[in-house]
């Protein structure tokens, strides 16, 4: 795939790596799950990343777009993405069948500060598609369970049919080493067995926390942040231990095209994970 060029002495960070869609299916009506493997087996197995990082997927002819990685580096070999229909690239991806070739480059961005989070309590607060990046860190914590103290998941979706990774998250309720609270804003099925109400209503179910030793990880639709952060600040969690991942603006992934710039920073290099303290100082972040 790599063309010979007499001028070229640098690696080309724009060059997509051939990858294959191994498996794909619908998670909800308009969100699809993709399992992807880099074709070169050695590259596939040595590919390393941190939870919270993202990659660029390209479809020949349609272009490329950034997607957060939903799988965990603790299970190497396959990369997983959970993709909502949004533009040209996702439309093209949705049409692709298993075994199709795509391009992949990455990983990009800072990811979650796993080292700092070790031996601390972790609360993961998910709204809707926010599960895409947070599933990575959740699975990472569960795979390395002894490295973290309490792990809790507060998960909110609009309605039961819009909950992604539904079976997977319900199965987590059986685990003794995880506090798992699920909620929907509205139950239009009459069969929902868990909490009903916006995700912030789950805070009252949370066991008493040790704020100074807690990291809270938040991702969800823009409207969610304000309310969730208010709860977290009221719980006295330090503002630099409230982490959010904000990936909606990235384009090239390598800090060159300029599109994700906010004030001083490039979201794709300095983010997508920011602390609430960063957010207070960066005017346009959320």
């Amino acid at each position: 795939m790599n063309g010979e060029n007499k001028h070229l002495t640098h690696d080309n960070p724009f060059l997509p790596e051939p990858a294959r869609i191994v498996r794909t299916y619908y998670l909800t009506e308009d969100v699809k799950f993709f399992q992807v493997r880099i074709v070169d087996m050695e590259k596939a197995l040595s590919f390393n990343y941190s939870p919270g990082q993202f990659g660029m997927i390209s479809v020949l002819g349609a272009g490329d777009a950034p997607f957060s990685i939903s799988s965990t580096p603790s299970r190497p070999g396959l990369l997983e993405f959970c993709i909502g229909k949004a533009g040209t690239v996702t439309n093209a991806l949705f049409r692709m069948k298993e075994n199709s070739l795509i391009g992949f480059r990455g990983p990009y961005g800072n990811g979650f500060p796993i080292e700092k989070m070790k031996d601390k309590d972790i609360i993961i607060i998910v709204g809707g598609l926010g599960a895409a990046p947070l599933r990575s860190v959740l699975l990472y914590c569960l795979d390395n369970r002894d490295q973290f103290r309490r792990v809790s998941l507060l998960h909110g979706a609009k309605k039961p049919a819009e909950m992604i990774f539904r079976e997977e998250f319900f199965a987590l309720k059986q685990r003794e080493d995880l506090e798992c609270h699920l909620s929907v804003d509205k139950d239009d099925t009459g069969k929902w067995t868990e909490n009903i109400g916006v995700v912030t209503t789950l805070f009252s179910l949370l066991e008493k926390i040790d704020p100074v030793n807690t990291y809270a990880l938040v991702c969800g639709p823009p409207v969610m942040y304000k309310f969730v952060i208010k709860e977290l600040v009221n719980l006295n969690i330090p503002k630099d231990q409230i982490l959010m991942t904000l990936e909606r603006r990235m384009k090239c992934g390598i800090g060159k095209c300029g599109h994700c710039a906010i004030d001083y920073i490039y979201t794709c290099l300095d983010g997508p994970v920011f602390t609430y303290w960063d957010v207070i100082h960066m005017r346009e972040l959320i």
Partner: protein, 352 residues
């Protein structure tokens, strides 16, 4: 640095000799303005120009170029925009502009499309004389100590030639008989007199060191709404600025076939589409917000990282913006210098 002399009459013959080695780009006339262009007729090369319409960036990153050829076999790198070039007649502020782009395209990830073009281009700088728009002295970019292979200071009867690199020296060695190694005291005095006169020729200045703080303090100032209301969102300021680097990428499919190209083209943060994301949401829909982003980059962000503004004082935004929004009006407004002629004019003629 080695400095030698070149007789005025020998310049064009010298350019002719070196142009056999590579395409020679130089400023030529376009209407009453100037542009960088490949030249073969050396009588067309202009020595007494101010800024060109577009900055030299276009020579390294053309407005549109192909990054990859795409076919069923995958992505094949396309570096056809990289050819051997010599760029003559670039002024100190524009060389500073290139150094700023170098910093940017080398940080974090290397951008081979820019860096390869840069590596294959020799820089032959030329001194200049400020007009009423230039303010490179305020940005300290009126003098240049690095970033060129040769630099020509025009002292009327002769040029002082500063040899900045080994490749520059190789060019001299093609025609050593054109040059004179011996500088007399008189030559040196001529240079000093020229430099003093040139430094005094700047007609206005601006205090850049005060601007980062003011950008912060006046972020919510009604000034921005006023500028935003006037801005046409045409993107011209961004296209002409030598330190702007934003681009977009898209796949272009050939009609009927599966093959195509991945195209990279200049983008401008002042355009409305710039801040649109997949799904159609636009997080910087207001023109005032986009201007703030541009000026944060020029006047604040780069200073805090590299200790100097990313504006090099070329004056292009000043001569280009149809509604007088430029580093001067914005800078003076932030500084509260209400009597500045440009700010007065903006208030009087643009916003009425």
């Amino acid at each position: 640095m080695r400095v030698i002399k070149l007789k005025k009459d020998n310049l064009f013959p010298f350019l002719e000799v070196i142009s056999e080695k590579a395409d020679l780009w130089a400023p030529v006339k376009k209407g009453d303005k100037h542009v960088f262009k490949v030249v073969d007729d050396f009588s067309k090369v202009e020595l007494n120009t101010t800024r060109t319409i577009l900055p030299p960036r276009k020579i390294f990153l053309p407005q549109t170029f192909s990054m990859f050829n795409i076919s069923e076999k995958g992505y094949e790198e396309d570096f056809s925009h990289v050819t051997k070039k010599i760029l003559f007649g670039i002024h100190p502020c524009d060389i500073h502009g290139l150094l700023t782009l170098d910093n940017f395209f080398k940080q974090d990830y290397l951008d081979p499309y820019y860096l390869e073009a840069r590596k294959n281009t020799l820089i032959l700088g030329l001194s200049c004389w400020p007009d009423e728009y230039c303010f490179a002295k305020s940005t300290n970019t009126h003098i240049i100590e690095e970033g060129f292979d040769l630099f020509f200071t025009d002292l009327k009867d002769f040029f002082l030639v500063w040899i900045g690199s080994s490749k520059g020296d190789d060019l001299i060695r093609l025609k050593p008989e054109f040059f004179d190694e011996n500088l007399t005291d008189k030559d040196i005095q001529t240079y000093i007199d020229w430099q003093t006169a040139r430094d005094n020729a700047y007609k206005w200045s601006i205090n850049f060191t005060a601007l980062p703080d003011l950008m912060e303090l006046k972020y919510r100032d009604p000034l921005w709404e006023k500028l935003g209301d006037a801005c046409l969102a045409c993107g011209s300021c961004t296209n002409v600025c030598p330190t702007c680097n934003c681009y977009n990428i898209m796949d272009k499919q050939f009609l009927g076939g599966k093959d195509g190209k991945m195209i990279r083209y200049w983008d401008a943060c002042t355009l409305e589409e710039y801040s649109e994301v997949a799904g159609g949401e636009n997080f910087r829909k207001k023109r005032a917000d986009r201007l703030k982003l541009w000026y944060t980059h020029k006047l604040q962000a780069y200073i805090s990282k590299y200790g100097k503004p990313s504006c090099v004082g070329c004056g292009r935004c000043i001569v280009t913006c149809p509604v007088d929004i430029n580093v001067r009006t914005v800078g003076k407004a932030l500084l509260g210098e209400k009597e500045d002629a440009f700010w007065l004019r903006f208030n009087k003629e643009v916003t009425k």
